[in-house]
């Protein structure tokens, strides 16, 4: 009986709130990747930008793309930046694909890229922000009793853009943008019950699956 009472809020916790996702893609060139080639997912960390792409979002895209790659490899960002140090640091990395051919003319860089088999560099820019919030909740605890009363709601907006650079041709292959938004709630009637909209996770899932299809040149 006790277990049932505990299970109810746990099940509610697992119930996510609705998230709407929108994906757009611009293809500039044909793509394709061999089984022995790989992709690297990079978060933009420009010195001047106030906000930078969250590390856990980059890690999420990396992991989901690796799970959904159907053959090609995904090189971790740290492995890539260490192997090509100092060329892909926040202050030295190329800012747009037009700078890539010059960089690829450096024999050491071209050779190292060949060694690690990177065919595409994917730059991710964007962030998840709270755009609106309302409500209030207060919690009280005394000896032998505790409870929360109130209602909280907030809306999160995740906007990310992936720029795909083809290392072999030194050109931009295209862009994919992923937008997700959703509203989370916490209702407090003695026990606070959160129903969370996993906005960032939804943006990550849709972006990584679209990336996988884009790189493999699937419709």
């Amino acid at each position: 009986m006790n277990i049932r009472w505990l299970m109810a809020p746990t099940i509610l916790l697992l119930l996510p709130a609705c998230v709407s996702t929108n994906i757009e893609q611009i293809r500039q060139a044909n793509t394709g990747i061999a089984a022995d080639e790989s992709v690297v997912i990079m978060g933009r960390k420009n010195r001047s930008s106030i906000s930078e792409t969250e590390e856990d979002f980059v890690t999420c895209v990396n992991t989901k793309l690796a799970n959904n790659s159907k053959g090609f490899g995904v090189v971790p960002q740290k492995t890539f930046t260490d192997a090509l140090f100092p060329w892909f640091e926040p202050r030295t990395a190329p800012l747009n694909s037009s700078e890539l051919p010059k960089m690829l003319r450096e024999p050491l860089i071209a050779e190292r890229l060949k060694e690690i088999g990177v065919h595409y560099i994917v730059w991710i820019q964007g962030s998840t922000d709270r755009v609106d919030q309302a409500g209030a909740m207060s919690c009280v605890a005394t000896v032998g009793a505790a409870g929360c009363f109130g209602f909280l709601t907030w809306e999160n907006d995740a906007t990310y853009e992936a720029s795909i650079w083809d290392v072999k041709t030194g050109t931009s292959a295209g862009n994919i943008s992923s937008e997700a938004n959703g509203t989370s709630f916490v209702t407090g009637v003695v026990v606070p019950i959160p129903i969370i909209a996993r906005v960032q996770s939804a943006a990550c899932t849709s972006l990584s699956s679209q990336l996988s299809a884009f790189i493999r040149n699937e419709a």
Binding site: R47, I50, E52, E54, E55, D56, D82, A83, L84, F85, P86, W87, E89, P90, R91, T92, L108, I109, R112
Partner: protein, 217 residues
Amino acid sequence: MKLKGSSIDRIKCKPVITVVIACVLSACGSTAIKIDEIFPPPLIEPFALHMGVHFSPELSDYVHEEEVEQNGTWKIALGAAQRSMFNQILSGMFQQITAVPALENFAEINAALDAVIIPEIQDFQFSVPSQTRTTYYEIWIKYQMNLYTPTGELIAQWPLTAYGKSNTDNFGFMEKIRQPAVQQATRVALRDAAAFFALGFSQETKVKDWLARMEDG
């Protein structure tokens, strides 16, 4: 039997509780940061030069200590990490490097060298999120790089600035953020200094001229 077990548990818990209280107190009082980092070797064609490098005690033992309002005292020990960074980057930039432990008898010691590099730290600044109203810990470091001939004449002198930041949002809700966040920002700043030094060395006008003279023989 049960009571005995409980008393043993209490005794075992005492040092744990003491450590927890000490940790909490130290987080409020002062934060000591030590940077351990293995920097990657640079992917650049090394100059065919035998370079000497001298680290002054000011650079080797550098500790930045600052009291930040409502954030306690911060102690950031940068010395060892700076040495490690410069050693790694210089080893990749030049065919041979030799440590020059002292500057006395400059010419005698350095006869076999093409030049000697002496990095100096000039300024170190950092900010915490409450100061900038962002979620970032930020680090700024300013070095002065000095390049001397083996006989002790100045060839070139140029500033090397570095910047690093770390986002508190990248750390878990339950994680202790202060130390790892500053460590990460400092590591990023040192890496930034190394990257910019490696790629900017031959672009410095006076260094460029000197490299051209060395090539001509």
